[in-house]
């Protein structure tokens, strides 16, 4: 053991904002690297995750699409209409997957080690979001390719794809943060899967994912209008089937505010994950 190995290192006088941001970026990068290394060791996971939504799109677009009344959905292209629904569905499922390693760390005890380190309370969740967003980008890319092959025309062109990606990112932040908060809050993984299994499907079906809001029964319409997924889907659908519309920005604004609120809840839940932790 070298002397210098243990020489005192006075912790840097921090407090300057740039130092704090640089520390935070280093934490998020280090944690995200872990998730990507793990993904690299489980490449089949990547293959199935990317292929699954594309298969859903084919199934919905060419199968269920035939049974849909064109008058109701306002376009003759059900594949294009439902693409945002599939993206939202995929991102919600991804949020559950995003929170799982946090729960394993909690149950395995490694979360304690992480919490004993001088890291920001948001960096773990944000690292999962970074990972999940990269994965979602691959999924969206595969969906867009399949949609183009199926003859969907994106009214807003390449900009539509950019808006879809941005929306998927915001939605991914919201669900990753919420499900992470849930993972920290539940006593064990049984509860986590019971709750996520209970809410994910209704969350998707109580939105405009497969049917326009106006076409839903009155009570479902109310629920759908309160559902953040509806805004995400609206922001993605308009550029595909209609073109530019100011409503896109409104929808993105609502979704963005919701995502930040979810992140705040997730970070605070991390703090008090057993209700009596030190902040």
């Amino acid at each position: 053991m070298t002397e210098q190995a243990i020489a005192r290192e006075t912790p840097a006088t921090r407090g300057s904002t740039t130092a704090a941001i640089s520390d935070w970026a280093q934490e998020v990068t280090a944690l995200a690297k872990r998730w990507f290394i793990e993904l690299g060791r489980e490449r089949l996971n990547l293959v199935f995750s990317v292929a699954q939504p594309a298969i859903w799109l084919i199934f919905f677009g060419s199968g269920i699409g035939r049974a849909v009344d064109r008058q109701v959905i306002g376009t003759s292209d059900y594949t294009g209409f439902t693409l945002p629904g599939i993206v939202a569905f995929t991102v919600v499922g991804g949020g559950v997957a995003a929170a799982m390693p946090l729960m394993w760390d909690k149950e395995g005890g490694y979360l304690d080690k992480l919490m004993s380190m001088p890291i920001s309370r948001s960096s773990i969740i944000v690292s999962r979001f970074v990972y999940q967003f990269v994965l979602a980008s691959f999924q969206v890319a595969a969906l867009v390719v399949v949609a183009l092959l199926a003859g969907v025309s994106f009214e807003l062109g390449p900009l539509a794809v950019v808006i879809i990606l941005a929306t998927a990112g915001l939605l991914s932040l919201a669900v990753t943060a919420s499900f992470s908060a849930l993972a920290y809050w539940v006593p064990g993984h049984g509860t986590f899967f019971a709750i996520t299994g209970f809410i994910t499907l209704p969350l998707v079906f109580m939105s405009n994912a497969f049917v326009p809001v106006e076409a839903l029964p009155r009570w479902m319409e109310i629920v759908a209008r309160l559902n953040p997924l509806t805004y995400a889907i609206e922001a993605m659908r308009l550029p595909i089937i209609k073109g530019w519309d100011g409503d896109i920005l409104v929808a993105l604004g609502v979704l963005g505010a919701f995502s930040l609120a979810c992140l705040a809840v997730g970070a605070s839940q991390f703090n008090r994950q057993t209700a009596d932790r030190v902040q």
Binding site: E3, A5, P11, E38, G109, K113
Partner: protein, 317 residues
């Protein structure tokens, strides 16, 4: 000396369980301090409070001069924490990837991460295995990796929860060697253990805790001395002349010849008295057959203060 840890009337309850019950603790800078107690005594709970993971239900605790409740982040920058449990969730990473990640989480400057990780892997003898998966490490290697991870940011205080739990004898001795080396470099060490020999061999001072309460605090030798004297047993053909020869020596407290003809010499310190006794026997030409001695153990200390045996608790807990 300044206090590295100062806990006053610390309490922590879980429902109706008082895991830590009015505990006082003072650890000075530069010492190896032990928390010895049976399973369930409250060692881990105490450590989790000091490592800023758990809020106390009552009392105060200062670590490295900072209050655990008001300045946890300052404490986290200054302490290394090695948990009792080895978490399996890093199974898909190599040892190197694990330690480099933790180096970044401790904000080791980016350019130095690789070198710092190698330095510490070398320190615990894992450099040859750096690129093997964590899941392929033996329990001893995983523990040593965790120990290395606790040193990444050159902490002032290293907190070790049962550092040699479940290790084979060889790995245990390696871990003890590292701990001694660290103390020589000036790192203060707090370690929890329920192994008597570990507490005895490693700690400068220790506190025995039981049911969340301090039983007694002191150096291992003081604690044992308080229990009573060492006993030297000598078998010889001529016990009476030997007894006469050693009578009045300053190291002798009292002596007796047993029915079996064994001389029992009660002495303050057997290690010092043995050569003296054997010297006298040789000078008086008294041949000795066997010489053995027994010293009080920390188990006797625990027994004296609680009326129960530490070892039995370990088995049943």
């Amino acid at each position: 000396m300044t206090a590295m840890i100062e806990a006053r009337s610390l309490v922590r309850t879980f429902g109706s369980t008082r895991a830590v019950d009015d505990l006082d603790l003072q650890v000075e800078s530069g010492e190896i301090f032990g928390l010895l107690g049976p399973n369930g005594a409250g060692k881990t709970t105490t450590i989790r409070i000091l490592a800023t993971l758990l809020a106390p239900s009552g009392g105060t605790a200062r670590v490295c001069g900072f209050d655990v409740m008001t300045h946890p982040q300052e404490i986290r920058r200054r302490i290394g924490y090695v948990m009792q449990k080895i978490s399996p969730t890093r199974n898909l990473l190599t040892g190197r990837q694990c330690i480099e990640m933790e180096a970044s989480l401790y904000h080791v400057p980016r350019r130095e991460v690789r070198a710092r990780a190698e330095e510490l892997l070398g320190l615990v003898g894992l450099l040859p295995h750096a690129d093997r998966l964590f899941s392929q490490y033996s329990g001893g290697m995983q523990k040593r990796l965790d120990l290395a991870c606790g040193l990444l940011h050159r902490p002032q205080l290293l907190i070790l929860d049962e550092p040699s739990l479940g290790l084979d004898v060889q790995s245990r001795h390696k871990v003890w060697d590292y701990i001694h080396d660290l103390r020589r470099q000036g790192v203060t060490i707090l370690l929890a253990t329920n192994y008597l020999d570990e507490a005895d061999r490693l700690c400068d001072r220790l506190t025995i805790i039981d049911r969340g309460r301090v039983v007694v605090t002191g150096t291992p030798s003081d604690l044992k001395r308080a229990v009573g004297a060492d006993v030297i047993q000598v078998t010889t053909a001529e016990p009476a002349p030997l007894a006469a020869a050693i009578a009045g020596q300053p190291w002798l407290q009292r002596h007796a010849v047993s029915e079996a003809g064994e001389l029992h010499a009660h002495v303050t310190d057997a290690a010092a008295a043995l050569p003296a006794l054997m010297g006298i026997a040789a000078a008086s030409s008294i041949p000795l057959e066997t010489v053995t001695y027994t010293r009080p153990t920390l188990d006797d200390v625990f027994l004296l203060h609680t009326g129960r045996e530490l070892r039995e608790e370990e088995v049943t807990a």
